[in-house]
């Protein structure tokens, strides 16, 4: 027996906004009959506000509850507000879902996303941020449940998923024959590697780019600050991560110069360029 929250039970017992809107402004669909759950969502949008929403769901208790609460969450909201809703928001609104049932909230998110995409097309409106890398859009990772790389990517991003099992709970991918589990692991690795890369982007600068960047930071950020105190700094040389500088003016010979060097110059360069930078002063 699933440990469903009171809210989930209430929503599958008495689903809100069941049905179809005949002249809907946007219709979204997710899942399939063969996969065991599917959802259709209908939106009425006036002046950029969702004035009505209805759903039809084939699925278990948590799938119906996710669809039902989603319609409640979006009625009265602007399209931009609705765009920001994630599967996590749906699950949170329901007071949580069992881990194995998180894919129900993902299905709600996907149907909503599909509806908005199709609304965007109807309005001849394209949000550039919404555009996918084309090769990613079509690539199906899990053939059993028709899960694309994009869907897995979104689930990782919205829920901070880290294991293949979590991906299966949220998207169903890998839950049947299991042949795609290695690919899912690769996607997880790529995702976190990419995030890390963004953090470490600077450290992958070419040596020439690095010299230019350090020089520019010293000239434009550090030097003006020191000049305020009547001192200055000159870049002498860069050797790997060692940045050799000369302090001038009031800074030179100041007993706080070491503090200036470590606490200000080195910290600034570490944050902006590379955490491994060491600043060395020459006379």
């Amino acid at each position: 027996m699933w440990d469903y929250s009171e809210k989930v039970i209430d929503h599958y017992r008495n689903p809100r906004n069941v049905g179809k809107i005949d002249n809907a402004d946007a219709i979204g669909q997710a899942g399939s009959l063969a996969c065991g759950d599917s959802l259709k969502i209908y939106l009425k949008i006036e002046n950029n506000i969702v004035t009505d929403a209805k759903f039809q769901t084939f699925g278990c208790g948590s799938a119906v509850a996710s669809s039902s609460i989603l319609t409640e969450m979006i009625i009265g909201k602007t399209v931009d507000e609705v765009r920001k809703i994630t599967n996590k928001d749906i699950a949170d609104q329901l007071g949580g879902l069992p881990p194995e049932k998180m894919h129900c909230s993902v299905m709600g998110y996907e149907a909503l996303e599909d509806a908005l995409k199709n609304y965007g097309e109807m309005q001849d409106y394209l949000d550039l941020d919404e555009l996918r890398e084309p090769e990613k859009t079509e690539k199906i990772v899990c053939n059993c449940f028709g899960v694309t790389e994009n869907m897995i990517w979104d689930a990782i991003k919205q829920n901070g998923l880290k294991t293949v099992e979590e991906i299966t709970n949220y998207t169903k991918a890998g839950g049947a024959c299991g042949k795609c589990r290695n690919i899912i692991q690769d996607i997880i690795d790529t995702y976190y590697h990419k995030e890390k890369k963004e953090e470490e982007k600077v450290s992958t600068l070419s040596p020439a780019q690095k010299i230019l960047k350090i020089n520019s930071i010293i000239e434009n950020q550090i030097s003006p600050e020191l000049r305020k105190d009547g001192g200055d700094i000159t870049l002498i040389d860069i050797d790997g991560n060692k940045v050799i500088v000369k302090l001038r003016g009031k800074c030179s010979g100041c007993k706080n110069s070491n503090l200036t060097l470590k606490a200000f110059v080195e910290t600034t360069l570490k944050e902006a360029v590379d955490p491994h930078i060491e600043v060395i002063e020459v006379e």
């Binding site: 699933w2 599958y12 017992r13 689903p15 069941v18 049905g19 179809k20 669909q29 009959l33 063969a34 065991g36 759950d37 599917s38 959802l39 259709k40 039809q56 769901t57 084939f58 699925g59 278990c60 208790g61 799938a63 119906v64 069992p98 194995e100 049932k101 059993c144 449940f145 299966t168 169903k172 839950g175 049947a176």
Partner: protein
């Protein structure tokens, strides 16, 4: 809201018979001796285990009490039988089983495959009946074991064990036949001698004994190694102090079940058929998943097209009705039942398949009540379904 419990999930487990409980109680309190002990205080518990063994022997029509080993459950019986036979026939590396076995057996075969055995999984037809030609073809000189269930737990479809045994023995006399009889015990008569069965496993809680006790029949011509190694209990075939109260309970349950076999075949079957016929008549998108297959008298498996099984179960549960489903969502496995998939139940109905399993305790009032609420629940769920056009087409077709 009606909250009286209506239990229609007797293939999952059953209520312990009051008489069974009564028979067990003294062995928890006054008669607590270890049956292996030498003093006279142990005489009663020792005698009780013997008596229970005799009752199980009679229940299965075994030739000798020595052919009965008490275990802790159906899974242990199956594991003991399968591992035991394979260990005694190390030179044979081929096993045959079915695609629709209980997971306790299927998962063991998958493990054995990893250990180097080759396993053939025999399929079933659309009604869930075993493909005997495929079975016959699969048996070869290297086949150590053929392992089939007596009846399937989800569909209730009975496999023709006597015929299977004939096929096995005519193709390879050395091949052993293990029958998982957990789902027929107490529902149809079992005769291990008439059917020429080498090993057969049962589980107490499926026929009104408690959970935690089972038995394995191993005929005198079949050698096995023990799964649990230790003391000399069960003639060295299963170590561990005998679970006296539970063994007594299962013996009593076997005795009662024998008396109820006729009731199962007539009254339980009548109620099952009544419930089934009513649902099939009054619910337009219902289909009997087993067609005309021969089944145990208490089970029906019905698929409801374009709606999902867990949702049906949740709504039944709100009315106090207990049933089960082959739907993916119920188990959390994401895939629908391996049994219904092996039968190629259409994908429109496989996720909406419900098993109702009755017992001697099921009353006519209960059956009538369940039959009366089904159409309403299904109608409500059809209204939520995104497949309105398909449902309308079906409605017209059945009208």
């Amino acid at each position: 809201m009606e909250k009286k419990l209506i239990y229609l999930d007797n293939n999952a487990t059953t209520k312990v018979d009051d008489k069974v409980l009564e028979a067990m109680l003294p062995y928890f309190s006054s008669e607590y001796a270890n049956p292996s002990s030498i003093y006279s205080f142990a005489k009663n518990s020792n005698h009780a285990v013997k008596e229970a063994r005799g009752k199980i022997k009679d229940f299965l029509n075994a030739a000798n009490e020595k052919e009965i080993i008490f275990t802790s459950c159906g899974s242990e019986s199956a594991n003991t039988a399968i591992r035991g036979v394979l260990n005694m026939n190390k030179n044979k590396r081929h096993i045959i089983t079915t695609k629709v076995e209980h997971p306790c057996v299927l998962n063991l075969y998958q493990t054995l495959e990893k250990e180097g055995y080759s396993v053939d999984y025999i399929g079933v037809n659309a009604n869930g009946e075993l493909d005997l030609a495929q079975l016959e073809e699969a048996i070869n000189y290297d086949t150590a074991l053929v392992s089939v269930m007596y009846a399937n737990n989800e569909t209730g479809v009975i496999f023709p064990i006597e015929k299977i045994s004939e096929i096995v023995k005519s193709k390879n006399k050395e091949t052993k036949l293990f029958v998982d009889a957990v789902q027929v015990t107490g529902k149809i008569p079992i005769d291990v001698q008439a059917a020429n069965i080498d090993l057969l496993g049962i589980s107490g809680h499926k026929f009104h004994a408690p959970k935690g006790v089972g038995a394995l029949y191993v005929n005198s011509k079949t050698m096995i190694t023990p799964l649990i190694i230790g003391g000399h209990q069960e003639r060295g075939k299963r170590a561990g102090t005998e679970n006296v109260p539970y063994i007594v309970g299962m013996g009593k349950a076997a005795e009662i079940a024998t008396d109820f076999l006729k009731y199962e075949a007539t009254e339980v079957k009548r109620l099952r058929d009544k419930l089934e016929a009513s649902i099939l008549k009054n619910v337009f998108n219902a289909r009997l998943n087993t067609g005309i297959a021969n089944r145990v008298p208490n089970t029906t498996n019905i698929g409801f097209e374009y709606i999902e099984g867990e949702l049906i179960l949740l709504h039944l549960s709100d009315l106090g009705i207990c049933a089960s489903s082959g739907s993916a969502c119920t188990s959390g496995s994401l895939e629908p039942s391996h049994v219904l998939r092996a039968m190629n139940v259409p994908f429109t109905a496989i996720h909406g398949s419900i098993r109702l399993s009755l017992s001697k305790y099921t009353t006519e009032d209960e059956v009538d009540y369940v039959a009366s609420v089904f159409p309403g629940i299904i109608e409500k769920l059809c209204n939520i379904s995104p497949y309105q056009d398909e449902l309308d087409a079906l409605r017209k077709l059945r009208a």
